[in-house]
Symmetry: C2
Subunit: 291 residues, 2 copies
């Protein structure tokens, strides 16, 4: 996007992308910028079919199933230390998801909606006598030989992981309820990546078995049910074009959170630039490198 760029096709594409993404980008600038600033109030809303297609297009373009770190993870190309780094960092995401969900519930005036949403909190925290998703995540970190005290301290996670996850919690706290709810639309795209992960990791790593992957097996049914509800909620509650665009921006924001986490893992543990103070695997010097 340079001054002297009038003619190049590359820049025409960039300019279009820039215009198209302008509201998405603005949606999570701190409060002094309104989201979806470019949308007129009288702009025609999408039909439900168009709106769902927009959401699925965002998933196809930005969801982290396309990230090269996942490709390496699922095809057995990483060593144990790299898988440890992934599980350790992702733990912070897991433990903050219920924080995000109760922050969201605190904005719900409708008791019926809270009753539906609390299922997610209990799915992660656990119910009487039943382990939840956080406990199931420890099965993974246990299986990888990480000490629980170290995992729960989050002392070794990458600063980028913390910034991305905290951005998600604060997005849900600060933005309107509709955007907070629909930021979880990434769950629409989760079941296929979880299936790929389970079969790929079981086949590829001698330190992985079905027990340590229990989290993902459970999420196959949980996430499908949750995603169906949120998609239906989005289609019913985002009626104006402005509301629809805000939902698209919320979903794009959430894909950024997930993508940034994997970029940081790749830079640190595949490219090999671990920041001072972050987790350092024992087998770091023997790690596979891909350039």
């Amino acid at each position: 996007m340079t001054k002297s760029s009038g003619a190049s096709a590359n820049n025409v594409i960039q300019m279009r992308a820039h215009t198209r993404r302008r509201q998405e980008a603005n949606a999570y600038v701190p409060s002094m910028m309104p989201s979806v600033a470019g949308i007129d109030d009288d702009e025609q809303p999408y039909t439900p079919t168009q709106f769902e297609a927009c959401l699925r297009e965002i998933g196809a373009r930005y969801y982290h199933d396309r990230h090269r770190f996942h490709n390496l993870l699922h095809t057995g190309k990483l060593n144990k230390g790299q898988v440890q780094a992934w599980a350790l960092n992702r733990y912070y995401y897991q433990v903050m998801i219920p924080v995000k969900d109760v922050a969201l519930m605190s904005k719900m005036g409708d008791p019926e909606l809270r009753r539906i949403w609390i299922k997610r909190v209990l799915d992660h925290e656990g119910r009487d006598g039943q382990e939840g998703g956080i406990e199931r995540w420890y099965r993974l970190t246990d299986g990888l030989g990480l000490m629980r005290d170290y995992v729960s301290s989050t002392a070794g996670i990458l600063p980028a992981t913390r910034f991305a996850v905290d951005a998600y919690v604060r997005f849900v706290r600060e933005r309107p309820l509709l955007e907070g709810i629909t930021s979880s639309l990434t769950e629409l795209f989760a079941p296929s990546i979880h299936k790929e992960r389970i079969s790929g990791m079981l086949k590829s790593y001698e330190f992985i078995n079905e027990d340590v992957l229990a989290y993902f097996e459970k999420r196959l049914s949980q996430a499908t049910e949750d995603a169906d509800f949120v998609l239906d909620y989005a289609l019913r509650h985002a009626r104006t074009r402005r509301e629809q665009e805000s939902v698209c921006a919320a979903l794009k924001f959430k894909t950024d959170v997930l993508w940034v986490m994997l970029d940081a893992l790749y830079h640190s543990y595949v490219s090999g630039y671990v920041p001072e103070g972050a987790f350092m695997p024992e087998d770091f010097d023997d790690r596979p490198r891909f350039h």
Copy 2:
């Protein structure tokens, strides 16, 4: 930090680092975790000399003058597109700094402190008839051939840049005044990197001249004055050990913000993994690569 790791020297070092950094890491977990949780109220405070040495040690270990992206930037190893990407992303930091500073001022009950602090806001926003730091930053992006509309839209910045900068603004909004003020202690270490940048970039790049680097020249005097004030403030106002540790954590947090921004630039524009939708330089395919 693995279960079976009792004996390895590497892990002993990790465990020490883990213990030492525990409060630093906790300091910016969202509000449910108190910062400096591990400090007893009756722990002996550092002497002023010890406390200043701690702060300078954090700078020596974590400040981004040690980041390899800066090394490439200052020694002429990057091409124009990579320098554009740096200036474009850093713009978001520049434009949010006064937002951070007014958020901080809104917590200052003391008018004298506000009168001192507003200098920073004016340094960036400009005074009657005098350009400020943001305008000076545009001289750099102009000089690099980036369109102002595109720069100011922030549409092409990396999501990691946004998360890191937003984390900084929110840190200052949410944390106590002492931590908000002292998070700017990175300015202690800024003059030497600015000098290195000015001389290195002038020598190395035909698209750089003194005019486009006016921002850094001006910051040499501004940042020194500001840093002296904040160091003195820290030494006078952080009296208990807990307060001193919270200042160390605030400074460490700020170094993380700066480091994450450069990690993301390196991963995207040196390693070459630009996320979908971010700025794509025209000379991307001819960029220098370093592995």
